[in-house]
Symmetry: C2
Subunit: 237 residues, 2 copies
DNA sequence: CGCGGCCTTGATCGCACTCAATTCTAGTGG
DNA sequence: CCACTAGAATTGAGTGCGATCAAGGCCGCG
């Protein structure tokens, strides 16, 4: 268990009404009357790459909305290894199970430096009864989580190493510029797809040799996709 | 696309108030007033082993509650194969995405002869606004689906064939008699764990040789678990 | 400059896949 | 009742892919 230093992470109390990404988040279509029902503070926190801000088994008192950055959701398997089961980006929610479960069911770790809104479950519980708009947003998040879990299983964890890595490369494309893709460490990519880091490295190298991928940095994280078709074909092969 | 013969499946309109398994299902804690709001017929249907009663891509107009039997939820991967991503038993809900999505996102297939209640999404949509009790039940179903998806990924799709098959054997134990386990066809077990059917067969044989499993039929489906510890140890190895 | 972390590449090994043959069951029809 | 068939499970032999073990390079940092 890695202790979280909340003091260093704290960035201030959130002003949800003036939130820059409110259109994307849970509170997207709340009314003035709804906001008046929020009685517990919603805090704005920052975490550095690698910090765990949700821990499996911990008491679940908050849910988190990702404002900026990327987080990875991990579970510890019975045989002691770590499995990455989901990736969260801006607008996504971490720790949704806090609404129902007394404890969190997975770890959530900052994959980049990250800003999050921490919302007490009490706010969600009281508001969701009064606001069908929040209720609808919550249901959409659940739905998205289920759908992504199925995709994850069907895409990243099925077939040859070549297919799996090609799928990761495509899954990690930037939303704003789809010709770019930001990969995790080879070890993390292995944890996403049940491959060893050496195998992942070999497959990334393979796509570079195929001229489907061009490195944009010297540490093996940012790449330009130069031949989308080759990658997509590998996913269907 | 396999056409569904609704006529042959139809077993009558359901009387939810008198339902034998109501305590387990979506309508568990509805009140009389809630039931009065149900204006579309809820039908009781029966399907035979192997029948598809929800099809990926079809218009999503109903959700289904499993009354008796077992169903498998399958997705078709980009490379044309079939992946089993969930197992549904009595009380579970199939096609929950119908509430939000215009089409179903996976196939649901009867794994045994099966009885289901078919509930129009209109009933869910109108009732859930009026009844926080139904809303809570729905959220619980979503939560369960997400949790199980994570388990599936972490347990059945990680590590050696030995570990995966041991996990399946344990996952398929009977709720009422945990010393018994009912397996699917070797092909389906492979689709659950991303293994070939021959590998699955070899691993089942291995556990029989280890005297952890004793066949109770002659077709390789029903087994008694005689050494739980060996199986559990393999899952943690 | 040395150190540690991460990525890459090479060589070898072993597990799961592939191809193939056999057995068993259930179902069908003579 | 038996012959025949189709589908499923089992078992064997050989292959290949990804794991393992190992070495070397690159980068950031003190």
């Amino acid at each position: 268990m890695i202790p979280i230093d909340v003091q260093s992470a704290w960035q201030g109390t959130s002003d949800c009404r003036g939130c820059g990404i409110r259109a994307m988040v849970l509170f997207a279509d709340l009314t003035e009357a709804d906001f008046a029902e929020i009685h517990a503070p919603i805090d704005n926190l920052a975490y550095k790459t690698g910090e765990h801000f949700v821990l499996e088994g911990d008491r679940a008192q908050y849910i988190y909305t990702i404002r900026t950055g990327v987080a990875k959701v991990a579970r510890n398997t019975a045989d002691g290894r770590v499995r990455i089961v989901q990736i969260l980006k801006a607008g996504d929610v971490a720790g949704l199970e806090a609404v129902l479960s007394p404890t969190y069911e997975s770890d959530v770790i900052a994959a980049t430096d990250i800003h999050v809104c921490r919302i007490p479950t009490s706010v969600i519980k009281t508001l969701s009864v009064k606001s069908p708009r929040l209720q609808a947003q919550l249901t959409q998040r659940w739905h998205k989580a289920v759908k992504q879990a199925g995709d994850w299983l069907a895409d990243l964890n099925f077939g040859s190493a070549r297919r799996r890595v090609a799928n990761i490369i495509l899954k990690m494309r930037h939303d704003d510029d789809p010709s770019l893709t930001s990969l995790f460490s080879r070890h993390d990519m292995g944890a996403m797809s049940d491959l060893k880091l050496e195998t992942v490295s070999r497959e990334v190298s393979y796509w570079i040799k195929q001229e489907a991928l061009v490195p944009k940095d010297r540490v093996g994280r940012l790449y330009e996709i130069t031949d989308l078709r080759k990658l997509e074909q590998a996913c269907e092969a």
